[in-house]
Amino acid sequence: MSTLAALAATTDNPVADFGDTPWWLSLVKALLVFVFLLINTLLVIWFERRVIGRMQQRPGPNRAGPFGLLQTLADGVKLALKEDIVPKAADKIMFWAAPAIAGAMAFVSFAIIPMGGTVWMFGHKTPLQLTDTPIATLLVLAVAGVGVYGIVLAGWSSGSTYPLLGGLRSSAQVISYEIAMGLALVAVFLYAGSMSTSQIVFAQNDLWYIVPAFFSFVVYVITMVGETNRLPFDLAEGEGELTGGFHTEYSSLKFAMFFLGEYVNMFTVSALATTLFLGGPAAPPGIAAIGDGMLNGGWWGLLWFVVKLWLFMFFFVWLRGSLPRVRYDQFMRLGWKVLIPTTLVWVVMVAFIRAAELGFLGDSKVSLLGRDFPRATLFIIACIALAVLVAAWFYDNHQVKRRAELEEARAMDEEIDPFAGGHPVPPLPGQRLVEPPLALSAARPAPVTDSGSEENRG
């Protein structure tokens, strides 16, 4: 009990020291964070269109300004000048409040993200972070939970079918993926012994949590895409099914608020991933060693933070450029039946590893590769590896048996000749296609003998 108390007392509260930060400096920092997010949003929309353009072998927007950089600004002005339409059947108060909630809530979470080390700012020594509390990471989840109200109310207040369905889908999606996300974060909390972001960054001095909590990282990345309603999980606005989803009836600045909120949310979840798994503003391992850490900390932290943040943004764009939208029931099955149970098992495993590291399961140590590992940790990792192997073995056996059964069922089917009637006919249920051996050789390009026929084809 006494070791636990000592541990808690040292890691529960934030490391960041806000003692020398007067209230007006906090206000300045809040303004800077706001401007940072706005400029980044302007840039990322341009970036997304250009990168997707490259992926689809076309130039993308390249007319307004150098490299088309001002395209987003022009689009924004155009959007603001459009007619603001309110449907007749809309619930006026909620129709107005929904985009305000969605837009405002997107900005709140960024307050707890450490964007750099401690710096001198207007004669005060202050961390490059707006604020930090012992529950900073939970605050992000809570704010996301309130932000969903914007989407749900937008869907309901539009007074139309597609927005309602889109809103319900979206909120069901965000709520169910928030559970898996929260569970994935638990592993990080266990390792860091804290939920304060500055404390988590501090605890990653030695090793970024992407290594010991690799599974949490994978789950977090999947859930952050689900949480921000981005492709391949943008079911709330699936054009083929729901026209525009929850924002179908919105136009002009109200629509712009949703648009802005979506992109700022992307930045928030990416920033959280950077903070929790990639060491936040810490320099990458090789660079951190240069000149006794001269490129690590202070204003340099902002550079590393932004680089890591934009790596995630590129990942978002890459996903959008390469993956099709998933079906809604498959998406929910992934969340509830795969991500949540596996993450629960993972959290229990991490709890055991952590307990062994802290010496709750015995104190003897083994020296390995120049580092000391508690014997209990190695024993638990060996147990987990064994369990995974056994599970994989059973799964493999099951698969082999199922494949054999399928083969058997196929063998029962009646064989038909698809060319029996003179032209190819697909097999009916219960029938099996016999590919004529000639078809394969016929499919191979024949050696060209007559050059005249080739010319005719072109």
Partner: protein, 266 residues
């Protein structure tokens, strides 16, 4: 006891907001407005907890109550469409009086209980948050009150399981998948490519307007049976007439139409 300037400013801004939310819950006409009012009150309460340095409690209050519980309420209200007129119907006789009596009894017990409560000397926030706010709350939940906490959670899980059991219906046959339906269509040889889509016309399209078959008659199968049962099926006559008029103007009509029109004119 003194309250700092920032905290009293927060109180005088957020306090009225919470009261307004609570009043909206009582007096709002629409059920959704009442639900949103309640969510507002809960969120502001969470902010007050945070302001009083119970950060963990405050964030969990927002996260769990307004983020999850109220959201489920909102879901149900939106899907079922509860109206304020529904709640005025008394389904069980004397229900209202019994309810009032029970509420008064509960209030009496609660007031009596609270009135008798004796407060010890306050220990102060510094001591309560000595090991950090989260660790302090964890020690209370998993240390001093572990049995009460576990018993409550067992009760909640039992309630959730009970609700699931009541709402559960055993499926007698396996659910037909998309592939099963497609196989069934091919076996029966009817509508092999699925049912026809509803009407899409030159200047108009809607789910309530049937598609036209090659001979010009409406395809009844293209309309959802729900719309047909409600009697909300649109007619095609007006639409085809408009289309034919346009075709006539641009001189793009078939010979047959042209002759019938000439007959009409004559």
């Amino acid at each position: 006891m003194t309250v700092g300037g920032a905290e009293s400013a927060l109180f005088w801004i957020a306090g009225p907001l919470a009261v307004a939310g609570a009043l909206a819950l009582l007096f709002a006409r629409k059920a959704v407005h009442a639900a949103v009012g309640m969510a507002t009150a809960m969120i502001v309460l969470g902010i007050f907890y945070i302001a009083q340095q119970a950060e963990f409690l405050g964030v969990i209050q927002i996260f769990v109550y307004s983020g999850a519980v109220m959201m489920l309420f909102l879901f149900v209200i939106m899907l079922i469409g509860v109206d304020s007129s529904d709640s005025l119907v008394e389904t069980i006789r004397g229900q209202r009086w019994a309810g009032l009596l029970l509420a008064a009894g509960l209030a009496a017990i609660t007031i009596a209980g609270i009135g008798k409560a004796a407060f010890g000397t306050p220990r102060g926030l510094a001591e309560a948050n000595k090991d950090g706010n989260v660790s302090g709350a964890a020690r209370l939940i998993f240390g001093d009150y572990v049995w009460a906490f576990e018993a409550t959670s067992a009760l909640l899980i039992t309630a959730a399981l009970g609700a699931m059991l009541l709402a559960h219906r055993e499926r007698l046959t396996p659910k037909a998948t998309q592939a099963d339906w497609s196989r069934e269509r091919i076996r029966s040889g009817e509508n092999v490519a699925g049912l026809p889509a509803p009407g899409v016309y030159a200047r108009h399209n809607a789910v309530d307007t049937p598609a036209l078959l090659p001979d010009g008659s409406p395809a009844e199968l293209s309309i959802s049976r729900v719309l047909r049962a409600r009697g909300q099926v649109g007619t095609t006559g007006a639409l085809t007439q408009v289309t034919q008029e346009i075709e006539h103007e641009v001189g793009d009509e078939s010979d047959e139409q042209a002759t019938t029109r000439k007959d009409d004119d004559a």
